[in-house]
Amino acid sequence: MATESAPLKEPADAAPDPQVTGVEPLVRFDKVVKRYGDHVVLDELDFTVRRGEHVTLIGPSGSGKTTILRLLMTLEKVSDGVIWVDGSPLSHVRTPSGALKPAGEKQLRESRKKIGMVFQQFNLFPNMKVLQNITEAPVNVLGMDKDEAETRARELLDLVGLSGKVDAHPSQLSGGQQQRVAIARALAMRPEILLLDEVTSALDPELVAGVLELLGDIARNTNITMLCVTHEMNFARDVSEKVLMFDAGRVVESGSPEKIFTDPEHERTREFLNAVL
């Protein structure tokens, strides 16, 4: 097994092999391993996400769900295996000989542009007003014109129902409002993939429904691909087409929400759903 620094061997015909359908999935985990010291969080994980698909990752705490999102956002490095996004390796570059080696910070930054993330703790920038939170990256990363970025930020704030809070500071907003701004901030980068990491876990119960409704709207009205770690089974049922049940770093079971919630095949899935529903 290759280590983090060693180049990974690829077959001579190194082009990513298309799926049976002939369409390369947008995201493909290929034997992805994540270790922290001796602790194996993800164990040769394989799974794919099609373009436009809304996938919910469920499973007990410590099953590696959040790690998957953090690997996709390149906040963590894979220990082994390759993550493919849109046919290209996410955190590797190809050497002239065709092998893959871990990418440098500059290449990672390019990879990240396709992907946006909303965090459990919002992570808005407290030193900036709401509008600047949203325009900062489009202006300074994408090189968007400032006026254009502001116009778009106002549209997004309108979308998330906070058009009146343009000049507020994050500390003046409720948790639910902060999370809406964080969603707008992620969308402002026009990501192809939106990662949602337990985005309602830190919210007061009465604020959860509004944020979930907003995410449902976004899922229905855009072609954005969503990967969502959540404990909100209603959200998994209403918004996603595919649910992946994780346990101990592996996909135990996957299928449509109807299938997983009404007729789970695996014992671990049944136990888990009994515990949370």
Binding site: N123, M128, N140, A186
Partner: protein, 214 residues
């Protein structure tokens, strides 16, 4: 008061001491500027990914902190004998205090939540922009009161500059004292001037601390 306290000497020396105070103030303000900028640079360099940067930086700050200001002043004046004493004084004061302010900045930077760094990465922001727009504004805001206290501390250490013949206030006081054999009076006056200048400043710092919510 003691009968032999010569009040006329106080009045006589006052303009001279004020002249010296101007130098004291100049050294403090410029020295603080050097310490604020250099300390920040040291703190950021201390987080560099390469050991070729962090190890020498750490060694230098350790050296500066482990030797007395007085020795550094005399040493620098001897090595750079062609440079004006006040310039040497300001730079040495600045470097000396940078070793301490860098620790303050470091704590301020460590105090910025990890989620802020991750949000920047999730938005593909460059390291430079991350520091400039997100991390430093939050870190500096947290450490302003502590930096202010170092400025006051530096103010009170400026008399060391007299050793390398900078004509700051205590230098003037000693000179006047030697010329007129009235040490108690002029040194008391110098002390009062220090008190009058630094007490309101520390009150101001405390107010600032409160306003920033510490």
């Amino acid at each position: 008061m003691n009968q032999s306290f010569q009040w006329d000497a106080v009045g006589d020396a006052f303009p001279l001491l004020l002249e010296g105070f101007r130098v004291t103030l100049l050294a403090t303000v410029l020295g603080t500027l050097v310490a604020a900028v250099l300390g920040l640079a040291v703190a950021v360099a201390g987080r560099a990914p390469s050991r070729f940067v962090t190890v020498p930086v750490k060694a230098l700050t350790e050296f500066v902190r482990s030797t007395p200001l007085l020795v550094q002043l005399v040493g620098a004046a001897a090595v750079f004998s062609s440079v004006e004493p006040l310039t040497i004084g300001i730079i040495v004061l600045g470097i000396h205090y940078a070793a301490y302010t860098s620790e303050v900045y470091r704590a301020g930077i460590d105090g910025v939540p990890k989620g802020q760094w991750e949000a920047c990465r999730a938005l593909s922001m460059s390291p430079r922009r991350t520091w400039q727009a997100v991390i430093l504004p939050q870190a500096v805001r947290n450490v302003l009161p502590a930096l202010g206290n170092y400025a006051i501390s530096m103010f009170k250490e400026t008399p060391f500059l007299a050793v390398i013949t900078v004509q700051e206030m205590v230098f003037e006081a000693r000179k006047y004292g030697a010329d007129h054999f009235v040490y108690t009076e002029v040194f008391t006056l110098a002390g009062l001037i220090f008190l009058v200048a630094s007490y309101p400043t520390s009150l101001l710092m405390r107010k600032l601390e409160k306003r920033l919510g510490h």
